[in-house]
């Protein structure tokens, strides 16, 4: 219910921006976010499904329900989706490839280079990004969010602050986390935990 509320608020905010005529194209802006991106909150262990659903609904403009994604999962994998079992990167890729085949999805077992992030956001193409949270020995929790924007701020000393914006089904919110262009490992946060993106992988559209 809260997810629905947040979703409505998000869409309403987007609508408000449209009404007020904010198209916000400035010559110097180097930060971009997809406006009107659906914000969902997961209901169980189904972050992946809401992540995929948001991508599908954003690009098709149709408000499908999460069961539509489950149905596609069954079609793609040949297996019945067991509620709360989650889906791995390969399965997410399979479902995205089926639903959004015209976008020729690409799966990589890594994070995305910042230049790649920019090109996808500039083309209004959301990307599913995964993360691993390492808990107690032997315990790894996977999580999926959707990358919908980036920022490339310039400081007074000329240095750059780069970051990513993403829709996080776990919190039902858009979040912003630094992207370290000098590091080989990238992270994102969900709630009060940091997830390793580089180990989990990404699915982007073309």
């Amino acid at each position: 219910m809260k997810g629905l509320y947040k979703s409505v608020v998000s869409w309403a905010a987007s609508a408000a921006l449209l009404v007020t005529g904010i198209t916000s194209v400035t010559a110097t802006a180097e930060s971009k976010v997809m406006v009107g991106y659906p914000v969902y909150m997961q209901s169980g262990n189904n972050c992946w499904a809401y992540a995929v659903l948001s991508m599908n609904n954003f690009l098709t403009g149709i408000n499908y329900q999460v069961e539509y994604v489950y149905g596609t999962y069954i079609t793609v994998t040949g297996n019945t989706y067991v509620n709360n079992s989650g889906a791995n990167l390969d399965e997410c890729y399979g479902v995205i490839n089926y639903l959004l085949s015209s976008y020729s999805p690409t799966k990589i077992n890594d994070d995305m280079a910042f230049s790649l992030i920019k090109s996808k956001v500039n083309a209004a193409l959301p990307s599913l990004i995964g993360g691993y949270y390492y808990g107690n020995p032997g315990s790894v929790t996977g999580h999926a969010v959707v990358l919908i924007g980036y920022s490339d701020w310039t400081n007074s000393d000329g240095s750059r602050d780069t970051s990513i914006y993403y829709m996080n089904p776990a919190t039902g919110a858009i979040e912003n986390y630094p992207y370290n262009t000098n590091a080989t490992t990238q992270f994102f946060k969900s709630g009060s935990r940091i997830f390793n993106w580089s180990n989990a992988g990404s699915v982007y559209l073309n």
């Binding site: 500039n122 007074s156 776990a170």
Partner: protein
């Protein structure tokens, strides 16, 4: 020196793997970025060393093997509590985080007129940072620990919390600590503080946050479940997690030039 350091790390990794009963190959492989010599020198015991390495692994697993773990977004409360108990307890002065590692880039999202984070309270071009807090981790019957992470509340000039920046102090290197930004439970915090001071706590749920008043009533700040436990305010309150209504006036000084930067965000339709 590097050889000695490498041998030390190998020894510590062995201790870690043995004491933790790990069998997963990916978990006992050395991490790509070795802990600094300073960290090893300042580590006081083998037990502490083990925790240091576990914390390093937890935050910075770099495996050659792609694990393909299912994306679920949920971790058990027991697991989260256990991790909080065993996480790196290194003290990080929040002042050292101000302005570091993309800090102002994230802060700028709260200033941007386009409201890229979709904040319900809106953005404010003169928003400011409030003295940060940490939160307590509890179970149904007892206080367990203080989570080693700072929440920096962001407030608007009209005295409302609009969002928060979050820094996990357990990251392997001090330079790895970065602040993420989002709305978090800022609107709910505004509402909660109308009734008085609260001590912030979490019961292990990845998205659960609660506040407890001095009269021991509890308010849910985020998450779908109400807290089911019997803790009192005195048990939960550890000072660092206490938020008073007046706290919003405790402004953190930052580089004022951040207010001069272009915070425009282009909206992609």
């Amino acid at each position: 020196m590097k050889k000695i350091l490498t041998m030390s790390i190998a020894l510590l990794m062995s201790v870690s793997a043995f004491s933790c009963g790990k069998t997963n190959k990916s978990e006992i492989e050395p991490v790509a970025n070795e802990p600094s010599s300073k960290e090893i020198v300042t580590t006081e015991s083998v037990e502490q060393n083990t925790k240091e390495i576990v914390a390093t692994e937890a935050a910075e697993q770099t495996t050659e093997e792609h694990l393909n773990i299912p994306f679920t977004g949920i971790s058990s409360k027991e697991d989260v509590r256990e991790l909080a108990l065993n996480e790196r307890k290194r003290e990080v002065d929040y002042n050292t985080l101000i302005g570091k590692n993309g800090f102002y880039g994230i802060f700028s999202s709260f200033l941007s007129p386009q409201n890229p984070l979709g904040l319900r309270e809106g953005t404010d071009e003169r928003a400011y940072i409030v003295k940060p807090f940490k939160y307590a981790v509890v179970d149904e019957t007892s206080f367990l620990t203080i989570r080693n992470a700072w929440y920096f509340p962001i407030a608007s000039e009209n005295g409302r919390y609009i969002g928060m920046m979050f820094a996990d102090c357990t990251m392997p290197e001090l330079d790895d600590i970065m602040c993420g930004g989002s709305e978090e439970f800022a609107p709910e915090l505004n509402e909660a503080l109308e009734k008085g001071s609260i001590a912030i706590f979490n019961d292990g749920g990845l998205n659960s946050m609660y506040g407890i008043y001095e009269d021991n009533t509890i308010i849910t700040l985020s998450g779908d479940e109400d807290y089911k436990g019997s803790l009192t305010f005195d048990e939960v309150n550890q000072e660092v997690n206490l938020i008073t209504p007046e706290r919003i006036n405790e402004k953190i000084e930052i580089d004022s030039s951040v207010y001069d930067r272009n915070c425009e965000v282009e909206l992609i339709y």
